[in-house]
Structure formats: structure tokens, C-alpha cells
Amino acid sequence: MDMIRRTVLKGAGATGMLAGLLAAGVLKPTLAYAEDWNKAAFEAKDINEALKSLGAASAADHKDLVIKAPEIAENGSVVPVDVSSNIPNTTSIAILILKNPFPLSSQFEFSNGAMTDVSIRVKVADTSVIRAIAKADGKFYSTQKEVKVTVGGCGG
């Protein structure tokens, strides 16, 4: 199943085949999730690749983009992170954890009155820099903060 899915997703011209599979009942319609999930960015294995996939390779630092995260996390599997952007016309925020196997953790687009502020809990594999990217007026901005991860007493 996974093999089939991957093949389907890879082939840009595979819509015909996808329809065929759907008709044949091989794929559940719900598996057609990928249209709103940036596979390349989420499966990127380093930060530069991830930023490139987001179109944010040249993001500039901005003081109005703020990350709130603890300096030390007792348990790396749950690290609270809050990102807010006061940059005018911000439309999206992405959160990346540089040392994770797949740095991109999440990306959010805001519309219809949603404030450009999101809080989330993420896994941080090791002491790492967390970077937030905001998109405003088509340009990308960036800020970062380091989170130290301790063993936290037991780890078990």
C-alpha cells in the first residue's frame, strides 16, 4: 500500500492512475490527503533543504517575530513553543527544530481574523535551536531560540 501511494504521489502525471485506483477501491478517498501537505518540506532532512522547500531560503531576521519557549526542557518529547508575529500582513508561520531528523514541525496559515500567534508542543531530540519563519507581504522573516533538553530525572 505504501509503495503504491508513494508511486502515485511522486508521479505528477499520475492523476489518471490515482482515479483508477480510487475506482478500484485500492485507495480510500481519504488517502488523497497530500494536496494540502507539503511533503518535500516535511521530509527534508536538514534545515536548508526544509527552508528551500518552504521558499524561505533567504529569510531575514525580524524583531517583531517572537518565539516563546522554555530555556530548559525537562522532557524533550513535550516542549511548549509559542510563536507570534507582529510583522504587518503576516500570513503564515512555520516552526522548525534544527537538530531533529526532520526539522520542519509545523506550518500555519492564517485568514479571516485569525491572529498570527500559535502555540504548540513539539518533540526536540536534543538541545537545539528552534527557528520560526513568518511570511508577510510575500517575504520571509526569521527568528530563533535555543532550548536545552535535559535527561529530566529518569527519562523512563
Binding site: V78, S106, A114, M115, D117, S119, I120, R121
Partner: protein, 103 residues
């Protein structure tokens, strides 16, 4: 079937503070079980929030979002009684939508 979400939506001034708690393993696909076999990836990939049927947040997530995810959003111009609907979909095709009224 996936467990229901817990949605808290409170109005402060004209801003609705929305907190969502989801029940999901958020398996990265990187971990191994006790026999050394990779535990298959199983994580939420999209999260959307709608206020009175209008989309306000479209999120995409990867396996590094914590197990049993918690999200917080803020929406301006909302009022008590407005309906908040949250939907997630995961990489296995499961999905869930829950609703709450802003208090």
C-alpha cells in the same frame, strides 16, 4: 475510531482564545519497538480551524509534534456563542472533526 478532541474556546474582549487537545500517537516513523522493528509513522498532517464555517487557520504538521497534540490559536472579531470547528487528518487517512461554542 479516533477519540474526540477537547476544544476550549473563550472570549477575551473581541479575541477568542482557542485551545485544542487531540488524542493521537504522533508516531514519527523513526522509533523502533523492542524487537528492533521500525514503528510505522502515524501522525496528523493537517489541522484546520473554522469559525462559524469560515476557515481561519490551515495548519500542516509533521511527526515532531508531540503525542496527544495541544494547539493554541487566537481569532479576532469573534463573540460568545460563535461556533469553532476543528478538523485533523493523519497520514493513514483517519480524520476527526469536533465543534465547540465560544464561551
Amino acid at each position: 475510531m479516533a477519540d474526540p478532541m477537547k476544544i476550549r474556546a473563550q472570549i477575551k474582549g473581541d479575541v477568542a482564545e482557542i485551545r485544542v487537545l487531540m488524542s493521537h500517537p504522533m508516531e514519527t516513523g523513526q522509533r523502533k519497538d523492542s524487537d528492533g522493528k521500525i514503528i510505522p509513522a502515524h501522525y496528523i498532517q493537517t489541522v484546520t480551524v473554522a469559525l462559524n464555517g469560515k476557515n481561519v487557520v490551515s495548519g500542516q504538521t509533521g511527526g515532531s509534534v508531540s503525542r496527544n497534540p495541544v494547539f493554541g490559536f487566537k481569532v479576532k472579531g469573534a463573540k460568545a456563542g460563535d461556533k469553532v470547528a476543528v478538523t485533523w487528518k493523519d497520514n493513514k487517512g483517519d480524520s476527526r472533526t469536533d465543534e465547540a461554542s465560544i464561551a
